[in-house]
């Protein structure tokens, strides 16, 4: 958000990201050792259909789903919660598996991104090196709501 001098302010440390599933519980990832979060939309919103003569029709499309990547330090509280979450989603009734939400609140911009229908795309890579690494969780979401 720009202030009077025309500077913008930003802080990842202020961002609160929370994952919630009614059967697993709620966890504030940023408190348990969060890293970076990337949310990428999957589909196009517009495309052009062009005829041989060059006439263009603009197609308006709807796409609300996408991919989110979470980077969490190995063995952090967040990581432990996410492992439990993945393990539960693997074993639970299919009906209950799409109930997770991921909320990212940026108080500086006063902006909240809510992802609904969050599921893990695959299990994160396992690696044991000399020092702790970060684990990247690839998540799929069905719907993104920005407020």
């Amino acid at each position: 958000m720009a202030n009077k001098q025309g500077f913008a302010t930003y802080s990842l440390l202020d961002v609160v990201s929370t994952i919630n599933h009614p059967d697993v519980g709620k966890f504030v990832l940023s408190n348990g050792g969060g890293g970076q979060i990337t949310i990428s939309a999957a589909g196009d919103l517009f495309s052009n259909t062009k005829t041989a003569t060059g006439y263009v029709t603009i197609n308006k499309m709807k796409s609300e789903d996408g991919v989110a990547q979470l980077e969490l330090p190995n063995n952090s509280e967040s990581d432990i919660f996410m492992r439990k979450w993945v393990a539960y989603l693997k074993s639970c009734a299919t009906k209950r598996s799409a109930l997770s939400t991921l909320t990212v609140f940026d108080p500086v911009a006063n902006r909240t991104i809510t992802l609904n229908g969050v599921v893990p795309q695959k299990e994160p890579d396992e690696g044991y090196q000399q020092t702790a690494g970060n684990r990247t969780y690839a998540l799929l979401y069905a719907e993104k709501i920005v407020k």
Binding site: D23, N31, Y88
Partner: protein
Amino acid sequence: MREITKEVKHEVEGKEFIFQITKMNALKGTYLVKFVTEKLIPVFTQLQGIFQAPDKDTDGNELSEEAQQKIVEQRTEEVLQMIPKALEALSEEELTGLIERCLQTVQVMMPAGWQPVMIGHNFGVEELEYDIMTTLLLCYEVIEFNLGSFFGGKSLGSFLPRRNTSK
């Protein structure tokens, strides 16, 4: 074996949850003792007996169930009027501090397994986050469970108002 956990059941939003309270260790419990003796006992002694309907009226005649119910309803109103007075004695920080300390010792059984009710300063279960009544009941049970043996091995019954606890 020493029993340091206790399970209680509560209904939250129409769903029954099993909560597990773990006893605080002596160091953490001391804070609770200090808090309860300093702040809560004066409040609870005022509330004492208010929940329990008497069997007989002032002349010694047996009271019908209906009449007992009426008395309980009247007393509930009295309690509601007393809540602001009771809370006046506690500052906001003291109250949130106490609730957080209490809830940090409670876990809830979710379909995925035990989940702490409070993680740091955040709720670990969404249903409870907006349920003031269950939150306060759990705090009450934590205090009673931890300090029950402190006051002469009986229970806090002499200080705390009696309540039907489902176990």
